[in-house]
Structure formats: C-alpha cells, structure tokens
Symmetry: C2
Subunit: 339 residues, 2 copies
DNA sequence: TTGTAGGCGTTATCAG
DNA sequence: CTGATAACGCCTACAA
C-alpha cells in the first residue's frame, strides 16, 4: 500500500480511504490512486485489514448437511449473490447436531464475521443466545417463524404440506400416506401440516405414516414404499417428504405393479428438476431454494449498509404446488381397475 | 493471549509456542497454559496470526460448478477431511471458464493460502504458470495426467469410458451411441475413450453421437434421447456421459415404448445412488468422488508437514463398472421381441 | 527451554 | 480533505 501511496504522491492512509470510502477523497486523487493500484497490481491484505479494523469479509454459513441437494441449491444462490460483493463464504455443516451448531457458532463469532447465515429456527437455547448477542447481522433461512433473531427468509413448511394434502384430497384421494426421511424439525412441521389437513378430511391414519432417521435418498424411498404397501395396503396416495423419496417410491411402485396415478397418487417435495420429466411426471411442491440463498446474502449485505431500514426483516418466499400426472387420477379407470 | 500468559505466569511467546509447537514447551508449562486458555476461553486471532506469520489456514478450492452433484460429493469429502485439521475451505467456481480460473487463482494466491485444490488438468498457460510458481502445495483433482503441477488425485476418464464401451460390446450390443451434456474437457476425454473402443469393434457412428453444451440434467437426457432415436433409429445401446442424462433417457425411452435392456442397452456415468434402485436398475461407472475430496486434502496436509516424502504425488483412484439390468440383454427375448 | 524486541499491512484517532 | 501516529494480536529472529 505504501508503494501505491508513493506512486500516487499521497500517504498510505489516503490510499486506504480511496479504497474504502471513496467519497471522502477528491476525485483527482482517487483517479491517481486507482492508476497506481492498477499499475502495481496492488491487492489489499485481508488479514491486515481484519486486524486493524476488527472487521472481516467473511460471512459464515451454517447448514445441516452439504450432501443434501436442497442445500446445494441454496448454496448456489449464496455463492452467486456473494460474487458481486467483497465478501467470502465460510461454510460449515452441523450434521443435524445442535451441539455442533453451538460450537461452530462460537468458532465463527471468534472470527468477527461480517454476517452469519444459519438454518432454520430450532437453535438450542445457547445458540440462540449467541446469535442474539452477535455483533453482526444474522439471517435465518429455509423457514419462517414468529420470532426471528434478526433477518429471516424462507417459507412455511406447515402450510406447504397442508396445501399439498389438500391437493391430494381435491384430486379424489382418500387414504393418504406420508413417507418421510430424516425427520428434522422442518420435516416434522411438514408432517404436522399434512396430518392437520388429512385428519380434517378423515383421510389420515397413523398406519400410513412411514418414516426413517436415515438421510433422504432414492433407495430409502423405495424401501419406505415397500414397507408402506406391506403395512397398509389400503393406501391410495402418498405424500413424500422429499423428491428423492418420491422417485424411489415410484420405482418401487412399478416393481409392485402399482400404477401411478390411477391406483396410487404420488407427490414429492422441493420440485427437483427431474420431477417434471419423470415417467409419469411427478407432482411436487416447488420451493425457491436458489432465491433463498440469494436473498439471504442480499439482506445481510443490505443490513451491513448502515442506512438500512430494517423493513422486511422476515421474507416469505412461499411455495407452489406443481400438479402433474402422478396425482391426476382418471376417475373412470379407477373404478374399473380397483373396485 | 497476554491474559493467558499472565494467568499462566509465562510470556506471550510461550503461549504461542505451546499452541503451535507444543513439543518445544515443557509439559508442565503446557498444562498450565492449557488451563489458562480453557479458563479464559481464549480463541487465537486468525487474522493476527496470518499477518505476523505470512501463513493462513485457508485452503482454496476451485471447481467449475457448485450445482453439479459430482462436485457436491467431492466437496463433501473435502469438508469431511478438513474437519480434523485446523484449515478452512475457501470455495470458488469458475463456471467452466478458464479466464475465471486465472482470476480466482490470482485472488487466492494474493491471500497466501496454505494450499490449493484445482479441478482437472486443462488450466490455461497463465494459470498453469501461476500454479507452478505457487508457494504452497497444489492438488489437481478429478483426473490424472502425465504432467502434474504438484499433487494429483483422480482417475482416467479415457480408460473408464473405453472400458464401458467394451462392456456394452461384451453384452452383445453393436450399434453404440453416445449422449453427452456439457462437453467439458473430461467429458471430451470420455468421448474419445468411448469412440476408440467402439470404432475398434466397428460399433461407432457419428450419427449416433448427440451432445449439448447445456449443463447435465435429467431433462436434457430425455431431449437427447428423443433426438437420437429420431436421427438414428438403428441404435441398440447408449452410453450416457452422466447419470442424470441416463435417467432422462430411461424416462424418455419408456415414453417411446423402447424397452430397456432388450431393445436398448443403457448405461450412465458416476454411479449416483439412484442408479441401483431405478427400474430397471441402470448400469453405471462408479467413481470415487468422496474419496477424491478426502484424499486431496489429505495429500495437501501431508505435503504441508515438511518431512513429507513426495512419493505418490499422483494417485489413481480408478473406477468400477457396475453392471446392472439396463445392459443385461436377454438374447432369447430379444430375438422374439424385436426381430 | 524461555524471553525480548520489533514488525507484519492496515485502519482509528486526532491534528492540521 | 489529508496526514502523522499509534495501535490491532501474533510471530520471527535473536538473545539469554
């Protein structure tokens, strides 16, 4: 930096200002400095800056799993949005462990992050306290709730599942089942929404609920389907907690010669790209994961801009039911095939 | 740190040493210091350390795409392995642009990373020069080649595709096709390996090669299949450059009433979890992506350990052909069904 | 084995 | 609007 200063005929601190707060430096000097920076290929030293200013350019992101394609999409949005800012992402995963989340939070907070992105609203008491006391903006992503730590962007899993159950009911299905992998808090809320709507229509039965603590996968979907059919042969429609589970259920249904959608309705969650092109195309609930990532960073950076008016602290991105053939039962065939 | 030093009755530098090079401090002092650290909840200041030592705990990872599930698996391995080290991952993606890669390399190198992980062997001349001159270990991942910059872990895409084509030939298929998404350098090498083997058996035809520059997806797989069938109805087996393309092809085949494997052999690449449970199960080439990520970090950290003997600078993780029903043509049925 | 002095590259603070 | 000075928290070098 002193080289740049010398070449521009100013002092180091002026270079610093020209870079951080250009409006506090005369346009002429600014131009001169820019030229020198360019000529010398000067790159600011992040560590020195962090040391002197007690500020870093690191945004910590804490998610439960990096494998899960749902989070992969969120991360894509996060990286895309952060690209146009001077910030860097530091990613960590909790493996769905609240204690791990506490630890990670401590580590991050020890590094004076510019901001923090955390998943969901089910932090432990300790974690919650750490977040409340954090000297930086915090965004909770993936779902929304009444009591945000700070910023929040997501959607209501309860509502999404409720709406989906209603979709199945509207399509004439009456014995709804629920297939769930890794029942994390958000999955649990989806289940609750599903049960609420199904029960109200008398279409719910505990015997048609099959869940697992294993991570979501196509393989698991196939297993859960087999278990369900075995345990509750009367089922006529399945809400899968995740699209990969739905895909696995579809494959397994074929092996059991169960026809979709006539013998059995099938619907997934998240609307992965493959759902629309499956045979038959599978109904799913579209969620805006990429957008969620972008928005999270966007809100964070906005909050960092001081003059931020903390409106829209909670953003509900909603969801959309993409009705496809897998829940489009043809009534005529139905009665003839399954009397 | 000085607080810790005071509490332990030593000087700051001793605390520093107790933390970085414990073997240079008496066990008693070490214990005393550990106690003080614990009591005070002292967390070292990474930026200060970086500034003073000109070393950071950052390992830069450059991949072409964060969406691609292939890289998601690699990243999972990377994060898993780095968890047991003091290092942090800084991830960046090039979007398959060599110029982007150069820029990212410059940014990373400006930050004195502890190490660098880059994808593939097709760096631009400039990028290659930057890597050769890097003052830290460099690992190239995803494939292997004759001329590593430093460390390398991957497998031969050419060989993998050649072996796959041979598998199809061995199963009696004679009119092989190639479906390819986003023909990046590694896909290109797969294609070359495929062509080599297919040509040698007289089973290759340009008319049965359909590729796209779009990213790999199930949707694209379906489109490519439709195009192929239209353009070259004589095809009897398909090698898909990626599993999602294979899955899309399978769905589309069903729509066209083309039966797999009897009318048409089908095989993918990477052996994603879903291939084994698809209906029918789809043959694929297993690649060790998670292991690749782990190994990359492992080699990097090993190289950082000074005393490293630079043996095994190039690690070939190989591949495995997982033969499944989708290429298991039943000769008897074949002749009766498709005369 | 432990300690002392000095500096890493930047920014906060206060003057001009 | 610009500059001088003194940190920021830690580590390298050298000394004891």
């Amino acid at each position: 930096m002193s080289d740049v200063a010398a070449r521009a005929g100013v002092s180091a601190i002026t270079v610093s200002r020209a870079l951080r707060t250009p409006e506090k430096v005369t346009p002429e000097l600014r131009a001169e400095i820019a030229r020198a920076v360019d000529y010398l290929g000067y790159v600011p030293h992040a560590a020195a800056r962090a040391l002197a200013s007690k500020r870093t350019d690191v945004i910590g992101v804490i998610i439960p799993s990096i494998t899960n394609s749902v989070f992969a999409d969120v991360m894509r949005g996060i990286y895309a949005e952060v690209d146009s800012t001077p910030f860097k992402i530091q990613l960590a995963n909790t493996r769905y462990s609240p204690r791990m989340e506490e630890n990670l939070l401590r580590v991050f907070l020890g590094q004076n992050p510019a901001g923090l992105v955390v998943t969901g609203i089910d932090q432990s008491e300790t974690a919650r306290a750490l977040l409340e006391a954090a000297p930086c903006p915090v965004v909770q992503i993936m779902e929304i709730g009444d009591d945000p730590v700070d910023l929040m962007v997501g959607f209501s899993h309860h509502e999404a599942a409720r709406a989906t159950a209603e979709h199945l009911l509207k399509r004439g299905y009456r014995k709804l089942a629920f297939l769930g992998a890794r029942m994390d808090p958000r999955s649990q809320r989806r289940f609750n929404g599903f049960r609420e709507a199904a029960s109200a229509a008398g279409a719910f039965s505990e015997s048609r609920v099959v869940t697992s603590t294993s991570p979501s996968s196509v393989t698991l979907g196939a297993q859960l389907f087999a278990e369900l059919i075995d345990r509750a042969p009367d089922v006529d429609a399945i809400f899968c907690n995740n699209d990969d589970v739905a895909l696995g259920a579809m494959f397994e249904a074929r092996r059991h010669n169960v026809s979709i959608p006539d013998q059995m309705g099938l619907c997934g969650f998240n609307d992965l790209e493959m759902m629309a092109v499956a045979e038959p195309p599978i109904t799913s609930v579209r969620t805006f994961r990429y957008e969620m990532g972008r928005r999270a960073i966007n809100m964070l950076v906005g909050a960092l801009d001081e003059k931020a008016d903390r409106t829209n602290a909670v953003v509900d991105l909603g969801f959309e039911i993409r009705a496809r053939q897998s829940t489009n039962r043809s009534t005529i065939e139905r009665h003839s095939l399954h009397p």
